[in-house]
Amino acid sequence: MNARLRWRKFVSGFMLTLTGVCAAISVSALFLILGYLVVRGGTSINWAFFTRLPVPVGEVGGGMANAIVGSAKLLFLATLFGVPIGFLGAIYLAEFSGSKMAFVVRYAADLLNGVPSIVIGIFAYALAVLPFKHFSTLAGGFALGLMMIPITLRSTEEFLRSVPVSLREGAMALGASKWKTIATVIVPAAYRGILTAILLAFARVAGETAPLTFTALSNSFWSPGWTQPTASLPVTIYNYALSPYEDWHRQAWAGGLVLLGLILVINIVARGILARGISVSRS
């Protein structure tokens, strides 16, 4: 009996340690990555990194200004393309479609969400690069936007559905049409959640590399307008990291640090918006 009890205590202690260690590993992975990036790339982050173009191998200095601006342009296009489609599609799903239709659309969105990003890249290549015979910022924005659609759609739908029926009834009983109810009561009640969803979708595609290598390609210089190939942070990091030059490796680490920093900030802002309280009380 006594031995049995000791054994039980041992198993309990062992499992507690094991699960604790696994939890610690999960958490520390992020901090290890972040720390490693800071150590390796921190020294290369300076004013020039954000304001200068890349320089040829051997020259000192230079930065990733074109990649940073390129990423910003790509993400702007992606948001412009993906968010309205995802948002309006979610309104249809949550407010108008029958349950069968909703099931099909939701399932398709989940599948689209699971499509490997490299496949999205090939698809965008066939649709937005081949017909025009050159790589472009537009094609890159299209590929990233495509990836934003299912994320925005699914989470916006969830937040729209969580608005209590009593609010819909309240608006309709006052003579509001269905569209008026959606525009003036339901969407405002869910706006925090929707905004969070959009930010998370944005952060999700900000680091995508594969779709861009087929569409926006890369560029060592500024990319004026929207129809030229453009540099972007993830692709530039990829190219630099594969190069045999120590200088470029350091730049790649710095680029990774900037990208991760950006994504972390977006995530924290998104959580902050949501944590300020869901705008509808649930009684």
């Binding site: 209590p164 009593s166 609010l167 819909r168 009834e169 309240g170 608006a171 309709m172 009983a173 006052l174 003579g175 509001a176 049409s177 008026k180 003036t184 009561v185 405002p188 009640a189 705008s279 509808v280 009380s281 009684s283």
Partner: protein
Amino acid sequence: MATVRPAVSVNIPPIVTNTAARDSTAALAMRMTISKVNFFYGSKQSLFDINMGIATNKVTALIGPSGCGKSTLLRTLNRMHETINNARLEGEILLDGQDILKQDVTSHRRRVGMVFQRPNPFPKSIFENVGYGPKINGSKRPIADAVESSLRRAALWDEVKDHLHKSAYELSGGQQQRLCIARALAVEPEVLLLDEPCSALDPISTAKIEELLVQLKDSCTIVIVTHNMQQAARVSDFCAFLLTGQLIEFNPTPQLFTTPGDPRTEAYITGRFG
């Protein structure tokens, strides 16, 4: 089968069951008339051949045990049943002599307002809540006027006039319900429907709302669903007793409570079931 009647067989009462009562209501103008209304959720029938009138500027109460169809009947009056899939209404409901089912649904709902069981203010300020109806309906009257007069009519003005721009969620439950009444009044409805408006409130808030209803009937026709028989006795002029989707008795309130015309009414109001 779909339209099988319940086992209890009833003679559907006329609009007013006894002669004395009919005399007392003969002179009354009817704001709404409900005739031969049958209502179905899918294949399940939940109202059976309802006939009754809603007297102008009076309070009409609908009472009966849970599931008797009183809320369903109330919701048909401003066509809120149409928001439910598979709901089907047969029969005729007139508002000022016009068939409500032939009107535009949004303009009909402006004429027949509704207050729900639980307070449901929008996640907006007090001002925006009350101003919502006039705003979406493009009222020509300044919204601030409508907000003030509606809040006064709902006996809430003095409590909120200094913080109209605070969130409606900061009000107490009773205040929120009066806010919802003010919001409904701001559209200037001819009829105000209330679906157990006090069931989520404490006795003091309930008393305030009951007092308010009595004041409101000067300018508005009121239909109230209530679980609470004392409440029906206190506030209503006419009272309808429903049981399993049928109108058992519809009479002036004092008469229904003192000399009920049907044994089932008597059983219900004396607390033998329900």
